[in-house]
């Protein structure tokens, strides 16, 4: 084993492995990690056997759907028309189906259009699973067969499916007594997940027609097809005639279902239940998805339990009221946040902030939010972002008046009384601004505004502190990596590279930053 491994190390040597000498310990660990050989028994879900009641209890609100799926899958070895399972994201479609297959112990092959992001990868993934081929270092992480076209896929699939089904049939003959690992039945099920992502591939219409007609093309009784999609069947209608499948619908959870689901695996159920009484109804008005609610609730629950000394205690009415009054001011602002991942430093900052603000009344939430920007940006990047924002939001004609060094010409303009026509014109202009969104600007304008702002900042700083470092770096230091900063801002999607202007031929940029973020950055 050691001999086999060493030539590979020289072939694909990383810096780490070539620098550390191969000691006897390493040789031994390489011996232990032998690649796992797949067998026919690996087609099933595996693990412990799952009874029907366990299946029902692990999916609290999905009893009807589970029963419907079990009915449609039918008894062992009964042929099946293809199923089309659809519903909103995070309604439990994939997990329910996989657990059903675990309960039934039937062999299946699973491929998701999320991880297999093109037809070729999808085909090769299915064929790899059928051929029991695992990608590992020994074969250079390649698939067993190269398969690009649907015609090749169908030919290979027919051959591989027949051989797998033969193997399953021969398994039956070998051992009549059922062991937990052996698959039951001669049928193989193909599960295709996240079908709606095919819309974004090239040649998506032919790809989708191919997937939907796969059952008719294969014409094999021992294969069952299950398609899982996040969008309803009417989004797949094409003008080539649409092949329908048997629909199974997973509705979005109701509030009671959500309560049942969120209460699972909670150490203190009564406490969490009182928390949900307060929080669930208002949050359900914005979204009913389990994943979004659970990410919103976990930090809130911590805040709710703050006054409690003993987290395992059962709250009585008086304690509930106390907790509620402490918790209440936090509900409204958290309703307006979507996603807040607390980092370690910010929790410390929180405790500091709480101690300082104890005495004073809390300022409006707006002020607090502006103080924190939760990612790091260098100073020049901040200036660049603000210049991009200004360039996008203001038309080029205003540049001269805004960035004039004297800044005094505006005040000399006489303010006329706004006539009705100009008010209308203003409204129309506002409407247009809303519609068009941020404008595009060429690179030269961005650099000009950037230079204006930084020179103004420099002069400001000069008056305030005699900072040698800043002056030494000065203009040259800030300008040198502007283009680098620009490309990193483009990668972070703060600035979008638009189409090129037909007259000048230079690429134009557009800022995607909202006013809030610009204000935060400038703080």
């Amino acid at each position: 084993m050691g001999n086999e491994e060493s030539p590979q190390i020289t072939r694909r040597a990383t810096r780490l492995s070539s620098s550390t000498p191969v000691t006897s310990n390493e040789v031994e660990t390489e011996k232990i990690t032998k690649p796992y050989k797949l067998t026919v028994n690996d087609f099933v879900f595996g693990g412990e056997k799952l009874s029907f009641n366990d299946l029902l209890s692990s999916f609290p609100a999905r009893g009807n759907q589970i029963r419907e799926l079990l009915r449609l899958l039918g008894p062992v070895n009964s042929p099946m028309l293809p199923l089309f399972v659809y519903g909103d994201p995070s309604t439990g479609k994939t997990s329910t189906i996989l657990q059903i297959f675990r309960h039934l112990n039937r062999p299946f092959v699973y491929a998701s259009c999320l991880t297999c992001y093109s037809l070729q990868i999808l085909f090769e993934s299915v064929l790899d699973q059928l051929l029991l081929h695992k990608k590992n270092a020994a074969n250079g992480y390649s698939s067993a067969r190269r398969c690009v076209k649907p015609s090749d896929f169908v030919n290979f699939l027919r051959g591989d499916l027949t051989s797998v089904i033969e193997k399953l049939k021969s398994l039956k003959k070998v051992g009549p007594n059922k062991s937990a690992g052996k698959p039951s039945g001669n049928m193989l099920y193909l599960i295709f997940d996240n079908l709606e992502l095919i819309h974004e591939w090239d040649k998506s219409s032919t790809a989708l027609s191919f997937m939907f007609n796969l059952y008719d093309v294969l014409k094999m009784h021992e294969v069952g097809l299950i398609f899982i999609s996040n969008t309803s069947p009417d989004t797949y209608y094409s003008n080539m005639g649409y092949t329908e499948h048997v629909p199974v619908y997973f509705p979005e959870y109701t509030e009671d279902d959500l309560r049942q689901i969120l209460m699972r695996n909670q150490p203190n159920r009564k406490l969490y239940s009182s928390f949900l009484d307060v929080v669930l109804r208002p949050f359900c008005r914005t979204t009913r998805r389990v994943d979004e609610l659970s990410t919103a609730f976990s930090p809130l629950f911590r805040k709710y339990c703050e006054p409690l000394s003993d987290l395992a205690s059962v709250p009585n009415e008086e304690m509930k009221r106390r907790l509620f009054s402490h918790f209440r001011p936090h509900i409204a602002p958290s309703l307006n946040e979507i996603f807040w991942v607390p980092s370690k430093s910010s929790t410390e900052a929180e405790t500091n902030k709480d101690t300082t603000l104890k005495g004073s009344t809390r300022k409006s939430e707006v002020g607090d939010h502006f103080a924190q920007i939760d990612f790091h940006m260098s100073t020049s990047a901040k200036y660049l972002l603000i210049s991009a924002f200004l360039a996008s939001r203001n038309p080029a004609t205003l540049d001269a008046s805004l960035f004039d060094s004297t800044g005094g010409s505006d005040s000399r303009k006489r303010k006329r009384k706004a006539s009705e026509k100009s008010i209308e014109q203003k409204e129309v202009a506002e409407q247009e601004l809303l519609m068009k969104g941020p404008g595009t600007f060429p690179l030269e304008r961005l650099l000009a505004i950037f230079q204006c702002i930084t020179s103004a900042a420099d002069s400001f700083d000069e008056d305030e502190h005699e900072n040698d470092d800043l002056r030494a770096g000065g203009d040259g230091g800030l300008m040198s990596d502007v283009l680098l900063q620009l490309s990193s801002l483009c990668n972070a999607n703060f600035i979008i590279k638009g189409g090129s202007c037909p007259l000048e031929g230079s690429t134009r940029y557009r800022s995607t930053v909202s006013e809030d973020l610009a204000l935060k950055v400038s703080f």
Binding site: E68, R71, L72, G74, P75, N77, S78, P79, M80, L81, Y86, G87, D88, K149, P150, S151, V154, T206, F210, N213, D216, V217, H221, N230, T231, S232, P233, D234, M240, G241, T243, E244, H245, V246, P247, Y249, P251, E252, T254, P282, C284, R285, T286, T287, R288, R289, L335, N336, E337, I338, Q431, L434, M435, K436, G437, P438, I496, R510, T512, S514
Partner: protein
């Protein structure tokens, strides 16, 4: 226990019948003027008279065109062994000429036990095909080309069709080209030179009539008396089945169901769900199975989508509807937010959320395809400024709001204006 076992066996039998088209379409093919007999006559006469022929089978999807073709081919293979070679192509897979010729060469090699080389070029394959056609013609063997999704072969330059039909005319070959398509105007798609070599024979596949449907139901759902199932169980099952089929409510269900789509495949899907609903304990079909199958297969996806929306998403939909009613045909997320703010100003509610929460709800609606982008500038603008439009109609939205549990009254009032 015994009845459950029998019921399971009966279920498996009927399910396998529903999944095999051969069984379904056999009784429809008995009469002499059915498509089956016509097709069989055309192909067998061209085999016997050693001449070339071409024919198109047209009909809506799911009417059994390929099934009837397969029945005819299997019968002919039995009647004339060793004189027929069948090559099957599918427009979804082989619409490109390269892959089509490769597939033809591969199937010919498989039939005649020759070695197939994957590296053969397009010219090699086409020369091979012409040579094989000539040889088969000299040996009085007929090659039948079954082209599924024929209209997809008629896209582009139609090189394959031209070379096939041309080879049939010039070389001493005996070939029959059968095209199957769900486009009724498939022959209009052909180029002039291809159409002139085509024989313009068309067989139309119509949906089954009421008597045919009745016969089909009996044929599929009745258990055979001479199978492994116990005789008295089968007899009782068939008796109960007859009483259901004669029931007026059942006839109403079937005719209601077939009003939308009367092809055979549609009916088979319905029967599949009904038979899966069969209660294994009692072991017999009942009318409730069919009623439950009807409600589970007849869905209104947009209504379900609206029911799945949260209240904020409904607000956004109603705001978009109001913008449309005001004849503001192009709007984007920012204008919707402005409308949302004005609605909140005139009817202050607690449902006023910040921009990012509304954007998230907006993205959910995009994902569910209740709204969609009206332009193609995905790369140069962010979501807030791209034009959107409503995909769900006013009536659907209204009905969805009415049937929504705990819909705020303000929304109903707004949508009624």
């Amino acid at each position: 226990m015994g009845t459950e076992n029998l019921a399971e066996k009966a279920q498996i039998l009927i399910r396998s019948r529903l999944c095999s088209p051969n069984f379904i379409f056999k009784p429809l093919s008995d009469s002499p003027d059915s498509n089956y007999s016509k097709l069989k006559f055309i192909i067998s006469s061209s085999i016997m008279e050693a001449c070339n022929n071409s024919i198109l089978l047209l009909g809506p999807r799911g009417s059994g065109k390929v099934a009837v073709l397969e029945l005819v081919l299997s019968d002919l293979l039995e009647e004339y062994p060793d004189t027929i070679t069948v090559i099957r192509l599918n427009g979804l897979l082989h619409s490109e000429d390269n892959s089509a010729l490769k597939e033809i060469a591969r199937q010919l090699c498989m039939e005649h036990h020759l070695l197939f080389s994957k590296m053969a070029s397009f010219d090699d394959n086409s020369q091979f095909m012409i040579a094989m056609l000539r040889e088969c013609g000299l040996a009085h063997k007929t090659v039948i080309f079954a082209l599924d999704e024929f209209d997809l072969f008629a896209q582009g330059k139609q090189r394959l069709l031209y070379s096939l039909l041309d080879a049939m005319q010039t070389v001493t070959s005996q070939a029959v080209v059968v095209g199957v398509s769900c486009r009724l105007d498939a022959d209009q798609l052909l180029e002039k030179r291809v159409r002139s070599r085509f024989s313009h024979r068309k067989l139309l596949f119509l949906p089954p009539s009421k008597e045919d449907v009745q016969r089909l139901l009996e044929h599929i759902l009745s258990l055979p008396m001479d199978s492994s199932l116990a005789c008295d169980y089968a007899a009782e099952f068939n008796e109960k089945l007859q009483s259901i089929l004669a029931d007026k409510r059942f006839k109403e269900i079937i005719s209601n169901y077939l009003n939308s789509n009367s092809t055979t495949n549609h009916l088979l899907r319905f029967l599949f769900i009904a038979i899966s609903n069969m209660d294994l304990k009692s072991g017999f079909l009942s009318l409730e199975n069919f009623k439950a199958a009807l409600s589970s297969i007849q869905r209104q996806p947009k209504q379900e989508c609206i029911k799945d929306c949260s209240i904020l998403e409904l607000y956004i939909l109603v705001c978009m509807k109001r913008l449309e009613v005001r004849e503001q045909n192009s709007y984007n997320f920012s204008s919707v937010m402005k409308e949302y703010k004005s609605v909140h100003d005139s009817f202050p509610t607690s449902d006023y959320y910040a921009q990012n929460v509304c954007l998230r709800a907006f993205e959910h609606l995009l994902q569910r395809e209740l709204i969609c982008f009206a332009d193609n500038r995905g790369h140069t603008q962010s979501i807030e400024f791209r034009q959107v439009k409503l995909v769900v109609s006013y009536a659907e939205l209204q009905e969805g709001l009415k049937s929504y549990r705990s819909c705020p009254a303000i929304l109903l009032k707004l949508i009624d204006r």
